[in-house]
Symmetry: C2
Subunit: 210 residues, 2 copies
DNA sequence: GGCCGAATGTACCAGTTGGTACAAACGCCG
DNA sequence: CGGCGTTTGTACCAACTGGTACATTCGGCC
């Protein structure tokens, strides 16, 4: 029987899963410890036993979310010989990836509201982000060597352009959607919005340098 | 003597100004009514007298912030004859504009965390956003007529690309900055980041349609 | 000057919230 | 089986927090 009355690992991970939902929904201050506990098979006491404080729980949520997302990102593998195809694929896969992980993007937005004060306390996150940059570097280098890519752009610039667009789709969908009376999350519009970021990056990179 | 002991207008506007700062800093749930009042020459009582509730105050803050920003946006006037110059200028001025209004962008981020539930209650905001779109429409039309702009892109797409980039610079500076060890807000880097969004939009729009 | 409604200040409250003291139950190991 | 460290549940609290009752003061108007 799996119905173990005592299962430290399960208690901990259930707490983490529920806390992720609640923090993503209500923010750090908006989330209530009692609320998180109530949605669990265990009690508030366990939050303090395993995580020490509301803040400790939030930090654990943030860390796990980042690890999970980086893991998922490694699956984005672009092996096109042509750098133009490769960069377009990377941009559009990044779009898909972000659209599919809105809870994570909400957590990131919340963390930025707090000026990144919690993320800074988490060790080892930085190295986790290097693969994404490495792949970009490699594609750009091939494109430049082939003479098809402009030379006044580096991997961070490209990552910034792609991330901005993809994050904004999710993070700002409510205000942007309201002001311009458009639903960015609508399935009908997805293919177009997806193609746009591909077009943007390819058009930009294949244009002549200033 | 300007030192009026009683000045309804001043009390109200001081409350609004301080509340804007506090909400932008701490979010809706994070902000404390007592804290806002304490930073004022008046008392908490006045918040309830003028705004009815914490939520009423937040709504007033949001509305005033949007009106202010749209006002400022109307100053962005691009009168280049060449649509390519015009669109580059628009993109780069939008960048400057966003970088200079980070409190507003924080409020927008906070509002999106709340899924836009407050902004929806504010009447007349939608019409306020139309000028920006109108100007874009006009530039795009000229560019298409001249044969220099691709035809598979509309004003909303362009606005989305520009806004994404400019908002991200400010809204996500902390997490992005931390993960890639770069300070997006550094004055040294501004000219480059500013040029990038110009290059992106021009390169994209002047490339051939798919 | 005296009236009256708008504006303001003080004191207070009830519900909420993060956090904890204490003890009990569990299950592994010898 | 018995002991012992880990894990869990209950009850509780002190501080905080949004909100308000009530009294008071101000300033314009007749």
């Amino acid at each position: 029987m799996v119905e173990a009355r005592r299962d430290a690992e399960r208690t901990r991970s259930e707490l983490l899963a529920v806390a992720t939902e609640v923090f993503a929904e209500d923010g750090f201050s908006g989330a209530r410890v009692d609320d998180i506990a109530a949605r669990t098979r265990t009690t508030k006491r366990m939050i303090y036993y395993y995580f020490g404080s509301k803040e400790g729980l939030y930090r654990a949520v943030l860390e796990e979310a980042y690890r999970g997302i980086r893991e998922a990102e490694r699956a984005i593998d672009v092996d096109h010989a042509d750098p133009v195809d490769a960069i377009r694929a990377l941009a559009e896969l990044t779009y898909d990836h972000h659209v599919g992980h809105d809870a994570f993007i909400r957590l990131v937005a919340i963390e930025n509201i707090h000026r990144g004060s919690f993320i800074r306390q988490i060790e080892g996150l930085r190295t986790l982000s290097q693969p994404a940059k490495g792949m970009l570097d490699e594609i750009l280098e091939r494109g430049r060597a082939a003479g098809t890519f402009r030379t006044d752009v580096d991997a961070i610039d490209v990552h910034l352009v792609i991330s901005s667009y993809c994050v904004f789709q999710v993070a700002n969908q409510y205000t942007f959607g309201h002001l311009f009376d458009i639903d960015l999350a609508s399935a009908d519009r997805r293919p177009h919005l997806r193609a746009v970021i591909g077009d943007v990056v390819v058009g930009w990179l294949t244009a002549a340098s200033r």
